[in-house]
């Protein structure tokens, strides 16, 4: 879901850049000393996830992992995504430097929306509800990302509903896979090191 260079107009790029800057600022301020390594791990995971290609569906799509990043990192997901996207743009030529801001927003905002929507249910509720919420969190990250990409493309003259439908449909398989990965990941963290989820959230919010 990287938007390439030369697709969007200047005002959209500048607006995206400003939003990304603000989000990154908030994320950096809310990031604890003890949380920095986790942020780095998830930035690495996000950076590499774009290489894991899902061969299902009509188009070529890859893992995003922004849902699970939001759930575990909260606002700190923003700087992590910015850094990972910057490195993807420089090293892989995915996306681009001018579209860095817009891409950070389309991936970072869903991470935070997912955090707000699902973290309570995912962490505190009964096991079955928690699993369900975690799954929705992983799938939701991709879903909201697709909607935001469609929204950004509207400014280029594409109609919103068809574009959104196309992108969401293309990412259906990824949504399911991300939901499953998020569930497994959160379960693993809960069993091995539950402080990551609880302590971190207690402090940063």
């Amino acid at each position: 879901m990287h938007i390439s260079e030369g697709v969007l107009s200047a005002p959209v790029l500048v607006g995206g850049g400003m939003l990304a800057f603000a989000g990154t600022g908030v994320g950096l301020r809310k990031m604890d000393y003890d949380k920095v390594p986790e942020v780095a791990v998830f930035a690495s995971a996000f950076f590499v996830a774009s290489l894991i290609h899902v061969p299902l569906g009509p188009s070529s799509v890859h893992l995003v992992l922004n849902g699970v990043m939001g759930l575990v990192l909260g606002w700190a997901a923003f700087p992590a995504i910015l850094i990972a996207l910057l490195l993807q743009a420089v090293l892989f030529q995915f996306g681009g430097l001018t579209t860095l801001g817009v891409n950070t927003v389309t991936m970072g905002v869903p991470a935070i929306v997912c955090y707000w929507l699902f973290h309570k249910a995912a962490l505190k509720a009964s096991p079955s509800l928690s699993t369900f919420a975690t799954f929705l969190c992983g799938a939701g990250g991709v879903f909201f990302g697709a909607v935001l990409v469609a929204l950004a493309l509207v400014t280029t003259g594409e109609a919103f509903l068809p574009a959104a439908k196309l992108i969401v449909l293309a990412h259906m398989p990824v949504m399911v896979i991300e939901g499953i990965i998020t569930t497994i990941c959160v379960r693993f963290i809960k069993r091995v090191k539950p402080e990551i989820l609880e302590v971190a959230h207690g402090r940063s919010f």
Binding site: M31, Y33, S44, V48, L91, K193
Partner: protein, 213 residues
């Protein structure tokens, strides 16, 4: 007390970090075929009077129904069309200048390829090529009774050009393929993770100094 706690915490976190990175590296190494992602490529080559293009994602999948637009150097749109199921699209050479071939594969994916004027060849239009082949055919039938002194310089040039064209076609195509960069390799991936770890160090340093103060 505080120091002991944080160093304990840090070592646990370092363990976690190390295991996660090992996991990531394992995923990459274990699945080399998945080392692909989301970028589109378009490349083009010339055969006779036609320009052939092929479009694919960095995963190797062909771009189906991708929009191809061809622009002149001054930005005028010359040709527009959509790729077929194999990601191919071909068109007659519209003019003998540099051609900028832009692929728009929807969902914000865009790629382009510039075909230089020199690659478009010396400019044999369809009509002249036809007359050339007629001339060549005539010449071949005449060869039997006409001595070689009758072959004009022009005819030799045309024959050589045709033969060269046929020989060079596959080479031109593979050069076009080579000119396109390949997807990211292990170097880029490991390098990127290295950058992230380095940045982590910087952030930890800055935050640690703040904490100490």
């Amino acid at each position: 007390m505080e120091g002991a706690f944080s160093s304990y915490c840090c070592s646990r976190q370092c363990q976690f970090l190390a295991s996660m990175i090992l996991l990531i590296v394992f995923v990459i190494v274990a699945s080399p075929s998945t080392a692909v992602a989301h970028r589109v490529y378009v490349y083009a080559w010339v055969e006779g009077n036609k320009v052939y293009t092929e479009s694919y994602f960095s995963s190797g999948d062909r771009v189906r129904k991708g929009l191809i637009q061809v622009y002149s150097p001054d930005g005028k749109k010359l040709v527009e069309g959509r790729t077929n199921d194999k990601g191919e699209f071909s068109f007659a050479i519209p003019q003998r200048t540099d051609l900028r071939i832009v692929l728009n594969a929807a969902m914000g994916h865009k790629g382009e390829y510039v075909l230089k004027a020199e690659e478009l060849g010396g400019g044999t239009s369809k009509k002249t090529e036809k007359t050339i082949s007629e001339k060549v055919a005539k010449k071949e039938t005449m060869k039997v009774n006409v001595p070689s002194t009758g072959v004009s310089e022009e005819k030799i040039r045309i024959i050589v050009e045709k033969a060269l064209d046929a020989r060079l076609k596959p080479i031109a195509r593979s050069i076009a393929l080579l000119r396109e960069e390949k997807g990211p390799g292990v170097t880029e991936v490991v390098g990127g993770i290295g950058y992230i770890i380095g940045l982590m160090g910087v952030v930890l340093y800055v935050k640690g100094r703040k904490k100490a103060r």
